[in-house]
């Protein structure tokens, strides 16, 4: 239940540089550390995708840093590392561990997370994981070529199956296992904090939807990362200790007999996707929370259907654990279970649709202010709808018979969990930057960045649907090996050119971010006229957030334009009466 916030400021404000900024126990510093880790990771992941696009459009050209013409195996290691880095170190790290860490305790009126030491430990474990992952580029054989899904036997049997499958693949799986450790610590902390450290009056049904999203995401993380950790350890054992969890008997690779026997490649797929599908929601739920918050704030109107939104988050989270089989329709899994998985998969479209309807309902009747965070939140809604709808195709095993492993799949998940989630991160960045760093980001630059990015991502990922319908397989280094792909090459050229422009536009964001840190306009306590608790404390907040006093909460998070109120928003901490 709710506690006095000040009681949990178990650690004093540190004075030395190292304890203040490096090995800090302050959730705000740790949140920023996670965010900056994700910022580095997203640039690495994006540069990898740039090289992929260069290879796809100009397969015979030489590009800097690759040493000659890029080989097919180099392309596949880009595929693998781009996917892995983006999913784990960007989409899992920034929205949940970054923003969640910084904002959640303040939004519920706490002085810090429940376990500050675990919090610091989880960040440094994640940092170690990232270092191990990057090391895979620099070892003999290079980074692995088995994709971010790392399907055995390809990922299990070692270098005999291809370059990068030796030490590089081992580092990859070790890194994932370490990452799981960090994610589990973080998940525990988020759950305990949300349940135990809420301020007086912060009932569950008064929590901002951001808190709900981080809370449910933490539960998903707790249930999913344990399974990936187990799968990762088993794969590591297959690779280094001679076990055969995932390697069946009788394999012959390059005329060499593989001595393993008795394992099942599908076992890995079940374990991986039992993690992997909830992971999609781990990436997107926090974005949904942020978008709900921002839409309501800048439409100056209460969120439409708050309770339905909470139940939808729970519904998505719960159903998210029951649909993993839709990644395996054509794997040889029981065809009967495919029917069950498909019905559950399409069911998850229902809470997703509820959220979309409620976002539209929030806008209708409002008075919309088009700030940069609002543009990104609106962009998120558009992209989420677009990406979600292609899921209606892929969730049906009948249609997956043709579409599986084509660019249609690539288009689908990049739209919905890639760029939509990234738009959530951008929205959160422009929205909370003033609180986190005490200065506003530059609005004209932010808007320029939005326009190029929004049109860019549509121009990149929409055409992938079309070449997917034409049957273009994923993970092809070039189109030369299959005759019918020749006619699709111009689409690749187009996508690559747009990708170069869109990636270049991200320098605008980077410049805006660092320029604003030092030269941005000073932020007031509540520059967006928002109602939640982080906007009651200075920007940036002091070490214990509320300066030793304990906030008391009187309202839900979305009281905008209440009839008869003194101004167009009522803070959660304001004792002013609201009569519905």
């Amino acid at each position: 239940m709710a506690h006095a916030a000040g009681a949990h400021a178990v650690h004093e404000a540190p004075t030395g540089f190292i304890r203040k900024y490096i090995f800090s126990l302050d959730h705000k510093v740790i949140g920023i550390q996670y965010y900056l880790l994700a910022l580095v990771a997203v640039w690495v992941g994006m540069i990898l995708s740039l090289y992929m696009r260069l290879r796809l459009a100009w397969p015979t050209e030489e590009f800097p840093l690759v040493g000659g013409v890029m080989t097919p195996e180099a392309y596949l290691s880009l595929v693998t590392m781009h996917g892995t880095i983006m999913v784990f170190f960007v989409l899992t790290t920034a929205p949940q561990s970054g923003f969640g860490n910084y904002i959640l305790p303040i939004q519920i009126g706490a002085a810090d997370m429940a376990f500050p030491f675990l919090n610091a430990l989880s960040f440094w474990v994640t940092f170690l994981s990232f270092a191990v992952m990057l090391a895979a580029f620099f070892v003999s054989g290079g980074a692995p070529i088995s994709g971010w899904t790392g399907y055995p036997p390809l990922s299990a049997v070692g270098e005999v199956a291809g370059p990068g499958l030796g030490l590089g693949q081992t580092l990859w799986v070790v890194s994932l296992a370490i990452f799981c450790g960090g994610a589990l610590l973080g998940a525990l902390n988020f759950i305990a904090t949300t349940l135990d450290l809420r301020a007086k009056g912060m009932y569950l049904m008064r929590m901002p939807l951001t808190v709900w999203a981080w809370f449910i995401t933490a539960i998903l993380g707790l249930l999913a990362f344990g399974v990936l950790l187990a799968a990762g350890v088993l794969l590591l054992m297959d690779r280094v200790a001679g076990t055969s969890f995932f390697i069946p008997g009788g394999l012959v690779i390059s005329e060499q007999i593989i001595s393993h026997k008795g394992g099942s490649p599908l076992l890995w797929q079940h374990l991986f996707w039992f993690f992997g599908h909830p992971e999609v929601y781990i990436a997107i739920l926090p974005g949904m929370g942020v978008v709900s918050q921002i839409l309501s704030t800048f439409a100056r109107k209460p969120i439409f259907g708050y309770r339905a939104m909470v139940y939808a988050i729970m519904g998505i989270g719960g159903l998210g654990f029951l649909v993993w089989g839709h990644h395996m329709f054509i794997s040889g899994m029981s065809p009967y279970s495919a029917i069950a998985f498909s019905v559950l998969t399409l069911s998850i479209g229902v809470p997703s649709a509820i959220k979309t309807f409620n976002w539209l309902g929030t806008l209708i009747g409002g008075r919309i202010r088009f700030t940069t965070p609002m543009l990104y939140a609106l962009g998120f809604v558009s992209l989420f709808v677009t990406g979600g709808l292609s899921g209606l195709f892929l969730g049906q095993p009948s249609l997956d018979l043709y579409l599986h492993d084509t660019y249609f799949v690539l288009a689908h998940f990049h739209m919905v969990m890639g760029v939509a989630a990234i738009f959530g991160i951008f929205a959160g960045t422009y929205f909370w930057f003033p609180k986190m760093f005490g200065r506003m980001m530059n609005e004209p630059l932010g808007k320029l960045h939005f326009w190029i990015t929004f049109i860019g991502v549509y121009a990149i990922f929409m055409p992938m649907h079309y070449i997917g319908i034409a049957g273009h397989p994923r993970r092809y280094a070039e189109t030369s090996g299959v005759e019918y792909l020749g006619s699709l090459q111009p689409v690749h050229d187009f996508i690559s050119i747009v990708a170069i422009v869109t990636i270049a536009a991200q320098f605008i964001f980077l410049f805006n971010f660092f320029w604003s840190l030092y030269h941005g306009e000073k932020a007031s306590v509540n520059p967006w006229e928002c109602t939640t608790l982080e906007w009651t404390v200075p920007s940036p907040p002091p070490h214990d957030n509320f300066g030793g006093h304990s906030p008391v909460v009187y309202h839900g998070a979305y009281e905008y334009n209440v009839p008869g109120a003194s101004q167009d928003y009522i803070m959660q901490t304001s004792p002013e009466k609201v009569t519905h």
């Binding site: 097919p72 195996e73 596949l76 399907y151 390809l154 291809g162 370059p163 009788g250 012959v252 390059s254 490649p265 599908l266 439409a299 209460p302 439409f304 259907g305 708050y306 339905a308 054509i330 065809p335 009967y336 495919a338 029917i339 019905v343 399409l346 479209g349 649709a353 509820i354 979309t356 309807f357 409620n358 539209l360 309902g361 209708i364 009747g365 409002g366 008075r367 919309i368 202010r369 088009f370 558009s382 677009t386 292609s390 195709f393 049906q396 249609l399 018979l401 043709y402 599986h404 492993d405 326009w451 929409m462 649907h465 070449i467 319908i469 049957g471 993970r475 299959v482 019918y484 699709l488």
Partner: protein, 264 residues
């Protein structure tokens, strides 16, 4: 800003939808018994998604334009339970109905066995090539042994010379089948996971080492169709391609005879 954003969303929506309708990049004509039902259900899903896409995006564009800040009064509301109930049940019925409506295609391909008398072909994937094995005149696929799998001595599938059933097996790098006759393909892999996909059949199935996955179909058009590997199998994945050759019954028998092993 509001006008531009509403316009941008509208233009993106209309252009995207237009490019789905012109079918410049599209599925090739089908040649299997699943094709007609597949294409119909694909179109049904496309139309439903198209309508939702259009309404949702233009609804968003409209809200952006109509409710931009012009100093108007905000309608204070926390929602409407009737509306929530309506759109929850409507989407549930629509989405679950859609998947059940189309599941007969899956059932026909995977819940039904191959008809008796189907031509049996065993497909083998290996990095980065294909082999297809036919049982020969005795109608039986013989034993194979991993330790005998050596392309260098002309025995890529490890046919066991001690098994009489193996001696007449026909092994080819492409798959030929007779037109208008049911075919069952037994999918196996020597090394890693591969995928057998023929766009014109509207079928796709993994070749998983240790498993014997099966698909069955009847091809109705004589011709040569590409079979690209669709599951990441290593550095040569993009080159792992073979052909499905659909022939007349007589040509197929000839083809089998011509390619039969010389020593019986």
């Amino acid at each position: 800003m509001a006008v531009v954003l509403a316009l941008a969303i509208t233009v993106i929506t209309l252009v995207s939808m237009y490019l789905f309708t012109v079918k410049t990049w599209w599925m090739p004509p089908y040649i299997s018994e699943y094709g007609q039902a597949y294409d119909q259900h694909f179109m049904l899903t496309l139309v439903i998604c198209g309508i939702i896409f259009f309404l949702a995006q233009l609804g968003l564009a409209y809200a952006i334009f109509r409710y931009r800040d012009r100093g108007q009064k905000v309608h204070y509301s926390h929602g409407n339970n009737t509306l929530e109930a309506i759109w929850t049940s409507a989407t549930a019925v629509l989405f679950i109905g859609l998947v059940l409506w189309g599941s007969h295609i899956w059932a026909r391909a995977h819940l039904q066995e191959a008809p008796a008398g189907a031509v049996q072909v065993e497909a083998w994937g290996q990095q980065f090539t294909w082999y297809f094995r036919y049982p020969g005149p005795d109608g039986r696929l013989g034993n194979t042994k991993p330790e005998l799998m050596k392309e260098s001595i002309g025995n890529p599938l490890g046919l066991d010379p001690d098994d009489p059933a193996s001696r007449d097996d026909v092994v080819m790098p492409v798959i030929a089948i007779p037109v208008n006759r049911p075919v069952e393909v037994i999918l196996r892999s020597k090394d890693v996971i591969h995928n057998f996909a023929v766009r014109e059949l509207r079928l796709k199935q993994d070749l998983v080492p240790g498993l014997e996955n099966r698909i069955h179909f009847t091809a109705s058009q004589i011709g040569r169709y590409e079979v690209p590997c669709m599951e990441l199998c290593g550095l040569g994945h993009y080159q792992m391609r073979t052909f499905l050759e659909v022939m007349s019954e007589a040509d197929f028998e000839n083809w089998l005879r011509e390619n039969a092993p010389e020593t019986q």
